[in-house]
Symmetry: C2
């Protein structure tokens, strides 16, 4: 392995000069620069990043902590993070937390020791002490951690209101809202948005808490649909739940969208594969990941960034589980 010393020797300068040239830090005369460049080229020298890290305490590594990459929301996020990271010369370490604070903390600490440069985190441990005294740059995704930490999120509340109005405008008279887990901030925001839109409409509604899980959602919706025969609209807080609802309806022989209209939330790829295609409030997950990564890297590189909260607009995707608007 050729080292900086070899380069220095060949170029007839000191290692300090080579280092300055390589890092573009401090002055290097034109002559010296030329000699070093030639030596680097001739020796095919490549800087050893581990040795550098030991000095700088930087690694160009960032951690992405998600509950579970298997959850269809996260792969696209991971993709965005990796794409942007690559652009800036960073590499991504993938961590599944399972929403387990211990696991999360463990990753945080292990990687900190390895001089990781920062984290992008999707977590519910909003108030966990290990975030408070983390000296490392962190950006929160989807769910706020605390005021000191920049957050990127969809406009969940407004999006949910939009989704609700889709059903309202299409003549639903009794709407079932599948509310997400109560410990999830975004789920609560969506609930608020639903309430915003439904409140003054005069339309009847039911709210049922429902995990973001296909089979559970199907079961819950099946039960509700059997009990409440007059439900003609379902707004689910996630596409996976909406898929469960659609399946339940199909099994009960309820025609979608003629007898029952369904709207989801998320915009995951599966939505268009269903029959009929799922109408949904689509989050721009890729954009969220991209913004989060840029913000994080700015922080890592000490660029000032006054903005603290980044809201990414959702977009309605009208597909087959809703009818055309009644005029």
């Amino acid at each position: 392995m050729t080292t900086i010393r070899d380069v220095a020797k060949k170029a007839g300068v000191s290692v300090a000069t080579v280092s300055r040239y390589l890092n573009d830090s401090g002055y290097v005369s034109g002559d010296a620069a030329k000699a070093v460049a030639a030596a680097v080229k001739e020796l095919k020298y490549e800087l050893n990043p581990v040795a550098r890290s030991l000095n700088t305490k930087k690694t160009n590594l960032i951690g992405l902590i998600v509950p579970d990459i298997t959850n269809p929301f996260f792969p696209e996020l991971a993709r965005a993070v990796e794409d942007v990271a690559l652009t800036y010369g960073y590499t991504v370490i993938l961590c599944n937390s399972d929403e387990n604070p211990e696991k999360e903390k463990n990753y945080l600490e292990t990687l900190k020791k390895k001089y990781i440069d920062g984290f992008i985190v999707t977590s519910n441990q909003l108030d966990a002490p290990h975030y408070a005294n983390m000296a490392l740059p962190i950006v929160a995704l989807d769910r706020a951690i605390n005021e000191h930490i920049p957050t990127v999120a969809s406009n969940n509340r407004e999006g949910a209101a939009m989704g609700t109005r889709v059903l309202l405008e299409r003549g639903c008279n009794r709407i079932l809202f599948l509310r997400g887990p109560e410990e999830l901030n975004p789920a609560n925001d969506r609930y608020e948005g639903f309430m915003d839109a439904i409140r003054d409409s005069g339309v009847e509604y039911d709210v049922v808490v429902c995990p973001f899980h296909f089979a559970d959602s199907e079961k819950i919706v099946d039960r509700v649909l059997r009990e409440q025969k007059n439900i003609d609209g379902i707004f689910a807080s996630s596409d996976v739940s909406a898929a469960g609802a659609l399946k339940a309806a199909a099994k009960l022989g309820i025609a979608v969208p003629d007898e029952l209209q369904i709207v989801g939330f998320d915009g995951i790829a599966m939505g268009e594969m269903l029959t009929p295609g799922l109408t949904t409030v689509a989050q721009d997950v890729y954009k969220m990941g991209a913004i989060a990564t840029r913000v994080l890297i700015k922080r890592i590189e000490n660029q000032v960034e006054e903005q603290h909260f980044f809201e990414v607009p959702v977009q309605l995707k009208i597909r087959g589980t809703t009818r055309s608007v009644e005029k």
Copy 2:
């Protein structure tokens, strides 16, 4: 930051002894061990892994190279890799290659410089030179790289034969096989398996090449179904293609499974969310990832492993897109 020197001083021994104790390498007397242990505890000393890496050229980091984490096959793989890696004290770096040899090579080289310990790779660049002279441990997933590199894969051929027989046993008289991209090894194995099963059956069949992409598959199947009215069975080389086929059938008003039966390949979660649920040849993706990771870590830790090819059996999942067997 407390270093090994602080510990040595407090314990009244040399740093060499502390290092030996910490790494359980070389002899350390009982007394010395006790003193060091006490000092470590009192000072809350934690070894600096970066400094260690500079010496050992090991980092406990492994790279996972996939074409695109957004492809529904890979998240579960990534999850398995990460789970097992964590068990052994390794951390996973996620790399999306987009099947682009340059990108792949770039990751390989960048991370090698960072003293990454090994790679798990899903790649088509079987014969790429950058794999031939990689001194690092590598395990190939799903697609063989070369004979020197251990490979983990499903029994694609046999699985495809099984899937074909599902249609045969259920009375299909004309089967459309959606063959995957010809540059993909597993896709070709599945084609062989289909041929194995169909050849002697006397049943008519068509073969159409079809990318593992939903919308494209839908389009292709729509066209074929319009042209060939008597197709009553489709075997798709991937679940995503099968979903496209199902969608095409639905739009054409063809009843599944009564008029047309469909079988997919992969076993991704989406399959059960469709209506009807997708019958499929399910790969045990998690197991594949877990095995690959264990094999890789064994190699990294220089444990001999004579086995070179690991085949993970597929499993039939009979759901709603096929009928019950005719007796």
